[in-house]
Symmetry: D2
Subunit: 450 residues, 4 copies
């Protein structure tokens, strides 16, 4: 026996179970009252703390190749492990991006050398790589996207409607998932231009240039195209009540859709941009309080499947320039290290969602959408021993300087949370303990689709 973990409150679909775990050869082999646990090489006493299935983050940007100075697969996955996340989906929006088999292989190789948690990589889609999609699927890709319906990064131009529709057809034939960044560029580019002409450079000009209707129209279009092609659809970083209502309606009609919300869209409202300025610049933007509330409601009702982070680290200087001119600031923020404690604190503890819902949105549903359940995403005999242990009684202040990401800031600086992970295991091996990274780079494995 490799390891026993005792004195746990194990988070499961039936509630919290007071018991211990035995782990052997990377798998959970026993869930039992402590006294019944076998002898083992090593024993950890959880002291009654909460043991969660390792988090799965469906949406992170780790930026080898090309932007390793922002985040590489070592720092990014160390940040994940420190935050209780044991599996990440990297979106491959690097330079070059995951648009070809060759590029994808390079990204995977880089990640294999550096990662300390398990991972998969998404395929990228542009007008020019449609014939590569089957090859990418052949390398193990299960999700294509985020497919940009609005301009975003230099390496990945947005796709026009004809390309989107064609891509959906191809992805459906590959039986993969199509994931979209749903914003209508026609609206955004017009408004941004107008605001710039009017001399607006203040932080609030950014969300003003990307109104709710830009997301609503793009989601409406993506749902229509998915319905007509039969592709399974994922909506990345949902932010609006209107979009949520479209998704609910489509789902009731039987469409196969998933959607995610990002931590920062749950925890900030547009007015906060006055204080936080460019640090809250992101796409889609931070929205109104009404939208924010509807997102929590969507989690509660189960319409929103996942909480992801859109983890996008940037140098502080890329943000600071935005105080004078918001258009110049980089968009995006880190998040993979804070997702779970924030959801425990502002979600479960504030009774916005139940513990059961947390398990679903942080681990179980992403695992299912990746085809990895019940191997991952749940604590069960026979499953991978991907776990994180948190203390719900100890309060911690979030500080960027203590984080493992390369990013020098966090929007949650100074926020008090409970449930900061103090122990994380990937396949039965402790990779983080007490905030310290234990694992060597390269322990993480690439897990392709079946």
């Amino acid at each position: 026996m490799d390891l026993i973990i005792k004195n746990c409150k194990i988070a499961s679909s039936t509630g919290l179970i007071s018991a211990g775990l035995a782990i052997d050869s990377s798998k959970i082999v026993s869930i039992a009252k402590d006294v019944l646990l076998p002898a083992a090489d090593k024993a950890i006493d959880c002291k009654g703390n909460l043991v969660l299935p390792g988090g799965i983050d469906f949406h992170v940007h780790l930026m080898d190749l090309g932007y390793a100075y922002r985040e590489d697969w070592r720092t990014g996955t160390e940040s994940a492990a420190a935050g209780g996340t044991t599996f990440v989906v990297g979106l491959g929006h690097t330079n070059p991006p995951s648009t070809t088999r060759e590029n994808l292989r390079k990204i995977i190789e880089m990640a294999k050398r550096k990662a300390i948690v398990d991972f998969r990589i998404n395929g990228a889609v542009t007008a020019h790589n449609l014939e590569e999609l089957p090859k990418l699927a052949g390398e193990g890709v299960s999700t294509f996207g985020e497919i940009y319906m609005a301009e975003s990064i230099p390496e990945l131009e947005m796709v026009e409607d004809g390309v989107l529709l064609e891509a959906f057809k191809i992805i459906r034939n590959l039986d993969c998932l199509a994931g979209v960044h749903a914003e209508d560029w026609g609206i955004i580019s017009y408004l941004a231009e107008k605001l710039k002409k009017a001399g607006r450079k203040d932080p609030l000009a950014h969300p003003e240039s990307r109104p709710d209707i830009a997301e609503e129209e793009a989601i409406s279009k993506a749902l229509l195209f998915a319905r007509r092609t039969g592709v399974r659809l994922h909506i990345f970083h949902l932010t609006t009540k209107a979009g949520l209502e479209l998704i609910e309606k489509a789902r009731k009609s039987g469409q196969d859709i998933s959607c995610e919300v990002c931590t920062h869209h749950l925890l900030f409202k547009r007015e906060d941009m006055k204080e936080y300025g460019p640090y809250l610049k992101c796409n889609p933007p931070i929205r109104s309080e009404e939208n924010r509330r509807s997102l929590w409601e969507g989690l509660r009702k189960g319409t929103i499947d996942m909480v992801s982070t859109d983890h996008w680290p940037l140098p502080k200087s890329d943000k600071e320039v935005g105080w004078k001119d918001i258009w110049k600031a980089g968009a995006g923020m880190p998040g993979v290290e804070t997702r779970i404690p924030l959801m425990l604190t502002y979600g479960v503890q504030k009774k916005r969602i139940s513990m059961r819902t947390l398990l679903e949105v942080a681990s179980e549903n992403p695992a299912k959408r990746l085809g990895l359940y019940p191997r991952k995403g749940v604590i069960a005999v026979g499953s991978d021993a991907d776990l994180t242990v948190v203390n719900l009684k100890e309060k911690t202040k979030i500080k960027a300087e203590k984080m493992h990401t390369k990013c020098e800031f966090t929007p949650y600086e100074g926020w008090e949370v409970v449930g900061m992970p103090y122990l994380t295991l990937v396949r039965g091996k402790v990779v983080m303990e007490g905030g310290e990274i234990i694992s060597k780079p390269g322990y993480g494995t690439y897990i392709q689709r079946d």
Copy 2:
């Protein structure tokens, strides 16, 4: 008394009334049993034929300025009168188009000099004339459009989503109607390119490049933007079942929408392109039989408000080039002269629609949408004496050479119809009799919005 018309079957909302009419100073002043009609300067005996309210065509392209060789306001309105239509809405898609007050005034002046039926002109919308819209409304415009959601003619570039949304806001504040050409250019341009690359030049390549979903997505977007801005919306030339369903749903939810179908979309199906080739090229294209049936069903149920023509004459040479390369052919066809007999023959006589529905879609509903009802669009005491008399028993073969339009062809060449108008009155004056134009150019008046 100027005129009495006796021995009529008057088409009214209560059914066919056997009676006569008296007309004085351009108005109907009596509907009465013939023996009760007053003495008059002139008397016409209808011999028991059907008297319809003059047709109103909500969508015609008369092409002074710039394209008078295709059709000018004289030939176009003579063609209308010969077809039983006493009021036309010209879309102002000329060169220059009705994008500015100055241009609009020029078009109106030209029309005033030439027209023999009454008319109104729509305002045109592009990214560059939004500030002119209030001025256009000030000249009497009540409808803006067709606003191009897809590229169409050189003078009027398509509008991007941001412009569309902004235009809708402005038009709503002017309390006008926004009318859209609803096709998604992103889909069409991609598919056209692909088909061209594949060497396709045959007639069916054209409809293939503009699939149903291109209309469905555009209508979906237009409905959303209209809902969010509160503008009253008109969908020009609806062609798809999917689009119709979206309109039905939106209307049930209380949105203020109207839509029209064109005669050719009711009477041709895609396969006919094999025989008719470039002569059936039009945008949106001729569609499948299933779509065609749903359009008749929409008329029957009242979901479709009007039958219009999108009258767009072209030299025969512009069509003929399309036999070798469909992409080179001009899109569009004439229609204003055949609308009413075709609807009487293939609609009413074939029992696809009732006579009551014909009155609504050919006259009453367009009049209402123009704010002209009951002054126009109905036969009633006090209303303008805009009338046309048709013989439902006499069969006529449609022939281009007998038409009054400059267009040298008609897609209905050789079709047999009943109900070809033999008498048309505008404001109590006979403008056409037995196929001959009686009126001098310039009798038609510009009727601006109230």
Copy 3:
């Protein structure tokens, strides 16, 4: 020419027309500017007043046989004529009721002798006369009902669900209309018993015993049974918002339903029972303000097809006993004489409904549901000259003592109205003028279904 009426404002579907009418052999033969009217035996000058199509009341109880002391066909139709109503549907809830061919013939004979306006009689339905329904249809019946889903009068026991379903099947096969009194007796009888046991005898105990849900459940059931049998359905005296919503939903799904609201349910609210006591006792009862508002809204939106009266005269003594014990009071009230002026005053003049809507709900829609349109229900050349003329500027106080009904009270005692009819014509003959009945009994004719 029998008669001309000049200087009119004629109410028509196109608006108010300033013109005159000529009438010959009971029909309208001319609508024309006054100067064009022919010479006639008699001329009436309307002095610019409003000429309405004669009212059609879809729901009156004239009580020959058996209860002529309450109202007979002479007083009842004189009351109708005085109120501008030229056609009544008698429900045949007499003693004996219209359950058999023999009874129906007796009722018709009685009515023919006495009536001064035209009429039809409904067939009655009980568990015991199902085999008579075809015979009743054979006598000219087009509507069966009100079919009692709750106990109401001694002569017509309520029908159990199995009978209702069977009756619907039979009525559908006769292509007739099934009309229901939609209240759930299971709820009412339970609550009435409970209230009685609790000692309640006050006026408000009556509506309390018949809550909204009793109507909602009964309408729900009637709609279901009609949907499953395919019968065309009429809901008599709708009173609840919940019921209206069910009807709207069913209609949107394509079901053939009509419904009516009674004047008193539009004009009184439950709290008024404190003041009016037993005089407002009726079934279904007077409801809450919220319901009352929704009924006006239903008229406005066109969901409610007709305004009827459920005219049910009673001796004052039958009401007075209710002050001490509401259970002992008779239910019902007169209405046929006040319907049109009340709707003109509290509907049109207060802008709750348009004049167009008034024409539909008071005349046009009932005529259509009876299969009598456009012979009746509209002012048009060729239609029956059923007309009433009202003065919208003159105010009148409603007084029971001036009414023509046998009923000694009216709930509207002392209410000020405009538009009290001062001239009523049935088939071109003046039957009422200046409040005086001109016609002899027996002028009214029985008009059976085609």
Copy 4:
């Protein structure tokens, strides 16, 4: 350690887990790979067979008091145990029934003396015991019903609508569940009478007297009353597609409803009555193939929450009389002993439902609706060791003579099934092994609501 069970395929929400179980003091204390199981007083080797959570049957009729000759709590629960069911809900439709605290206590006492599986008892509802409902809740009742909307048994008259509505209000205030037998008696009584008059006595006359619409109307009413009172609702023995659609719609709108289907409605169709005659007589009756299919579809989609049995044993003679006159036959049939193998065979093995769905409908969902989850209804550390072991490879023929119920017949006589339980444990104690009952009467405990 009391017991270990090894070499299992444990059925869980994450799939089938190859592992063993340890049980101590009635609870599951370990789920672990076999080698990790502790030493124990006793060990059972499952030989790789399937271990299911003990079945929970939400609807059985055990007939002490008054009808013990049909089934008593000993034979009934032995039958349950033999069929893999470890918890039954007795409906208390005995003589006297569970209408009063006194009666309920008597039933509980009887059950406590005889039962070998755990149980709860429902409260009964009539017009006469509404004031007893709070007292029944005080004794531990969580569900009231089946409340008869149609006449059924002499002891429990059907409730009129007013009583139903009042009962719902009371039950809601007690925070209990209202369960209805949803058939419209008005329809049934009428049709039965009619059929009898027509001389019909054949088996098919029975289902003909209880058409789909009788259930549809009753469910529609129950849903409406539940919506208006806010009570949580349970629909017993759903049988129609129409009813299912109503439930789906209500649930989508947010109503708190559960429903069950009975094994016999899943496995027989109406035409089978020709062969099986009175043995298939039950209420609601066996339905058409279309209905039967929709019930499987409802299970698949999760709209139907549970499979129950409506276990209602009868002497064979009560059935045999029905061959000559179906009206004389008793309605009902046994089922608790065959539910799980039938569902494994005709559901899971025939791929109509997944194993996951079986767990939900046979154990998990009933446990949740009883407020007993995760104590019961699932195999998890800390849960009650209620288990049954089945062999999916061994085929068994169902024979009434081998059953443990007093009932001398089973409708499934001669049917071949897999998965006949060969071991059943209640709270860690083997109560049945190899078809033999091991437990003494009285081991079963009454588990009242929290």
